[in-house]
Amino acid sequence: MSHPRITLEHVSKQFAAPGAGRTAVLDNVSLTVNEGEFVCLLGPSGCGKSTILNLVAGFEQPDHGRVLLDHRPISEPGPERGMVFQQPMLFPWLTVRDNVTFGPRMTGADKASYQADAERYLQLVGLQDFAEHYPWQLSGGMRQRAALARAWLPKPQTLLMDEPFGALDAQTRLAMQELLTDIWQRTRTTILFVTHDVDEALFLADRVLVMSARPGQIRESLTVPFARPRNPEELLTDSAYGQLKRDILHAVREEAAKSLGLQPA
């Protein structure tokens, strides 16, 4: 049994609703992400996927239950938990290189200790020729690659990803997914990845957690059995892939219908 890195124990979270009262976003959610595991959280919009990430990041605190990192409660954000957002959230006043090295520069690391790594990551994400450019001079995909390098450079034990490729076009998204699994296979960082794209989840994850409509709960936990490195074309020919995708789609569609207030078909 591997070591659990992230644990949510009976977590509930409410937000003040516009108008009156409070809306329950998460209701008694329990989940575990093991060390070195790649887990995708899948669910309809508004089901609380991002809230789970914000709790683990330490931006928010649960109303009930506990959010643990290596068995210790999470109280605030820290550099051992990197995060990649849906938007790149780069700093437009810094060059790409200064953006990527932002983490180690803030934590006061010796320049010699991260310089070589920074160049390696810039190369890995294909931005070595754009290190002196400013973020606004890059395309959307390039910005998100810079954000990926920035999150990974401080060598976080855990990486939280909030639909990081959701705003990219289909081709760029595929390339980013391959880049992500490529880096992950070298580093084996624990990753919790939020998405609403079933194919993306099946290509990336060791395990897929399907969430219910709000108030969010973990409806199913499915292991993705495909060997790595995976190839998106070969996956399609695998009969297990079709079956798994059908199961997940069924659950996702049911929950999406519930969140829209429709009767399941």
Binding site: A57, G78, L90, W93
Partner: protein, 239 residues
């Protein structure tokens, strides 16, 4: 063209609207012999000097105060009613009080220009902090930035373009109150020149003064845009 013709052909009384040719004569006359014994350049220098000093102090005090109000909700809530009460007041209404407080010397003129630009800089800088991207702040926090580092490396540069914009607007407002300031027992300055010439029906001097006031205000704004491009080139850029 139309302006010149209107005067030359006698459509409009030159007393009501002196044509550009008359204005040019006035420029030459004032440049040589001055207006009321004071050369034109000196009127200009006195006014810009007064204004620039007041702007400099307003920026130096207003920006930090506004940032502090934006950062600390308590501090902001305490000071905001005073700022919001004073800011929309027509500064001419303050003249009698200002004379009682500061006399009729340079102090009163400085204060009138200062207070009008200072108050809007405070409001602008405080709003700039509220407009700082929460996403970028969160990104900085996950990268291990301390509270001080978040302020220096994210809040300040993220707010800078909007601070520049509010300074540009505030300097426009401050320049407007130059007239009010020079109503207080002055004997030189562009604002005083306009008021004084008006009471002697020297509309050519009035118009010249207006043109110079406008051009100077324009030059201030141009200079600030230059500074903004130099020090905040990421203004309006997405990342």
């Amino acid at each position: 063209m139309l302006w010149q013709l209107s005067g030359s052909l006698g459509w409009v009384d030159p007393l009501l609207l002196p044509p550009p040719s008359d204005l040019w004569q006035t420029v030459q006359e004032l440049a040589i012999s001055g207006y009321r014994q004071t050369p034109l350049w000196q009127h200009f220098a006195v006014s810009t000097g007064r204004a620039l000093l007041a702007f400099a102090v307003a920026i130096a005090l207003g920006v930090p105060l506004g940032l502090a109000m934006g950062l600390s909700p308590l501090f902001g809530a305490v000071l905001n009613p005073f700022v919001q009460f004073l800011r929309p007041l027509p500064k001419i209404a303050l003249i009698p009080l200002v004379i009682v407080w500061f006399g009729i010397g340079e102090g009163a003129k400085f204060f009138l220009i200062f207070i009008s630009s200072f108050l809007s800089i405070v409001v602008g800088a405080s709003a700039a902090v509220h407009g700082v991207s929460q996403g970028r702040l969160r990104a900085a926090r996950t990268l291990g930035a301390s509270r001080r580092q978040q302020f220096v490396h994210v809040v300040l540069p993220d707010a800078l373009p909007e601070v520049f914009t509010s300074v540009r607007l505030s300097i426009g407002i401050g320049w407007t109150s130059l007239i009010a300031a020079e109503m207080v027992a002055a004997n030189s300055g562009l604002g005083w020149m306009v008021i004084n010439a008006g009471s002697y029906l020297r509309t050519d001097v009035v118009l010249l003064g207006i043109v110079l006031l406008g051009l100077t205000g324009y030059a201030f704004d141009w200079l600030l845009q230059l500074l903004q491009r130099r020090f905040a080139p990421w203004t309006g850029r997405d990342a």
